[in-house]
Symmetry: C2
Subunit: 397 residues, 2 copies
């Protein structure tokens, strides 16, 4: 055996995955596999298991009743045991193009598909992901196109007196010492999310790479802030430690984050090659980020020419909490008097925030304020937010 072969053999053996790290271990099983007929096969080695299941948003949903109403819960697929403890499940039908989340359940315990390295943290939930290519889902894939740069950037925040983290996308060809300047879209996450969410399951950098490459949207800078004002950064990037993220209601949607937004815009304009004017600025966000988008747009009507509210939590503001949530009617009048290029509203038919959005639209309709509206199937889900982003971006600049 040559030394190179021995080196590889030791790496492949993966004898002691912790003690000899960066090594290769475990059975080399492929899971999931998208079959030629469009069905998807999942595999799992669990010789001691009695029952193996998969649950995820690619399976037909079932209705679940709770004290807060009826929700769609994902279905469950049952694996069959084969030889040597190899379990397998194939979907009965072809799975439509989309980016999906799933988990395995072994003997009633939630676990991951360890043969799929694509894992995503969404707040305090961990899931595997897989992508069925085709249609709109091709925007979510890494394709052989020029790629922008994705950076984790810390900026000083006057209000919180610390440094806070954001994600910044600069398009392919961006040159910090060049002459070309770009418009900027600010893209905001939902409650409990953070500056990572839109570039992980949100696929925003892939969407931008692919749509820019196809000429479907203009080359632009994108900024993904952290809307949890009590957080410096995503949970594992905080100097406060590595604890499980905890939902901190008292520090969300109380006006502070929105107040810091003009400073964020100023930071971006002074550190990047931006077209630093309202005409070349857009803002959008999902759920709480849609709420933030609304109140930032209304309170700073000279900042953004384009605003997008995705499944926005529009009806949850309390005027007693912050002056930013007061005098909404007057602020709406001012906002529309400045003739913004676009107010875009998107929501799913079964979203638990549907009624709040319906009320907002009724108010806008009654006042004759213009907006663009998209209603999709489904609820408060990433599938919709990715769709809304691909609808919103081509309308900008």
């Amino acid at each position: 055996m040559t030394r190179l072969a021995l080196f590889v053999a030791v790496l492949l053996s993966g004898t002691a995955c912790f003690a000899q790290q960066a090594l290769w271990g475990g059975a080399q099983i492929e899971s999931p596999v998208i079959n030629d007929n469009g069905t998807v096969t999942f595999r799992c080695v669990a010789p001691k298991a009695v029952k193996v299941q998969v649950t995820g948003d690619f399976l037909p949903t079932r209705k679940v009743q709770t004290e807060w109403g009826e929700f769609d819960a994902p279905g469950v697929g049952e694996f069959t045991e084969g030889k040597n403890g190899l379990w397998e499940y194939t979907t009965p039908e072809a799975v439509a193009p989309e980016l999906y989340l799933y988990n395995l359940i072994i003997d009633g315990n939630q676990t991951l598909d360890f043969n799929n390295m694509w894992i995503n943290r969404d707040v305090s939930t961990i899931n595997n992901m897989f992508l069925v290519p085709g249609g709109r889902s091709d925007y979510y894939a890494v394709r052989n196109v020029p790629h922008g740069t994705v950076s984790k950037v810390w900026y000083p925040c006057t209000l919180t007196k610390n440094n806070r983290r954001m994600t910044v996308y600069t398009p392919a060809g961006y040159n910090p010492t060049g002459k070309t300047r770009y418009p900027v879209v600010y893209i905001l996450h939902g409650a409990g999310g953070d500056e990572d969410a839109w570039v992980t399951e949100g696929r925003a950098s892939q969407i931008l790479d692919n749509m820019i490459a196809e000429g479907r949207c203009k080359p632009m800078i994108a900024v993904f802030t952290n809307g949890n004002i009590s957080q410096e950064a995503a949970p594992l990037e905080n100097s406060t430690g590595y604890v499980r993220p905890v939902f901190r209601q008292e520090k969300q949607m109380e006006g502070s984050f929105e107040e810091t937004f003009p400073e964020i815009v100023k930071y971006i304009d002074s550190h990047y090659k931006t077209l630093a004017n309202k005409k070349n600025r857009a803002i959008c966000g999902l759920s709480m980020g849609g709420f933030h988008t609304m109140y930032i747009s209304l309170n700073y009507p000279d900042l953004f020419n384009y605003s997008g509210m995705f499944s926005a939590a529009v009806g949850v503001s309390d005027p007693k909490i912050s002056p930013l949530y007061q005098d909404v009617d007057a602020k709406l009048a001012t906002y529309f008097s400045k003739k913004p290029a676009l107010l875009w509203i998107g929501i799913g038919k079964t979203d638990f925030l549907y009624n709040q959005n319906e009320e907002l639209r009724a108010k806008l309709d009654a006042a004759g304020y213009p907006y663009t509206y998209l209603e999709t199937d489904g609820g408060h889900i990433w599938k919709n937010w990715r769709i809304y982003l691909t609808e919103f971006l081509p309308k900008l600049f």
Copy 2:
């Protein structure tokens, strides 16, 4: 119930974690917890489980025999079942400061600690992580110090005729249009790793942030390349798809990656505020990256003034594969005739590459070539590579 409270309640309910995403689900259990006496407690809810165990590199190792020799394998800790399916394990003794990897084993099936959001992919192995603060391990933590920017950057590669991805760290205060220029360290991963490895379990950006803040090393740019020439990028960032990473021996350590290195240096010098000369350039790498470091340093002796070989696979080159691996003695003579500022070698006493490094040192000693050597406990492990980086960086520039 106010609308804000209802909104939060729905988010907290996490009824349907896939169908209503970005929501909060699961029991709010804290695991792991570092106790005041230094022991660590792990918790897990598994009402249907018969046996719950934890395995990781914080537990005393046990010896395992294989056809390739004896290895250290991690020990196993046994959980105890309490009320309502809550299982718990506390280490018998205090756990020393360090960054650790671990997994749970439920009824014989490997799984993650779902209450710990800190998850790391190391090639095709997925583990939870936790950090016990104190001592050197404080360099690995995100601390309240100025933070550099970490960017995922695509550069054109002439040899492979595609764009390839690297990670670039620019120190706090770096200004692409400013006058200050910085030295550059290139930091290379091991076999099967990629451009993500050093900034995930390698903690290189935290190490740089913290050591720069303490004045223990100079502010510098750090570049983390992808040494697998057949890969555009880390597995999930490839345009070729999202399959499980597979060890591709034929495209590693065959000279091509090393050949592309001068082009990488040229790219960095033309896109960043670098001090673009040998005096202000360093290179280091672990395992295969140590091998790359050696052959890049020897074949391009005018590029780097500082070279660091961490647990390097120094003895696995085959001269028949590439001219870069030929005439090593003559290249060593040329390399040392140019009086490099530092050749640094570090290895663990139980590393399976120890003998190869011993042979290299004997050769250097015989020729009277100067180098700095550090021998540590332990084997081919990230703990050592992080230690070596913290030893190497203060010696640069």
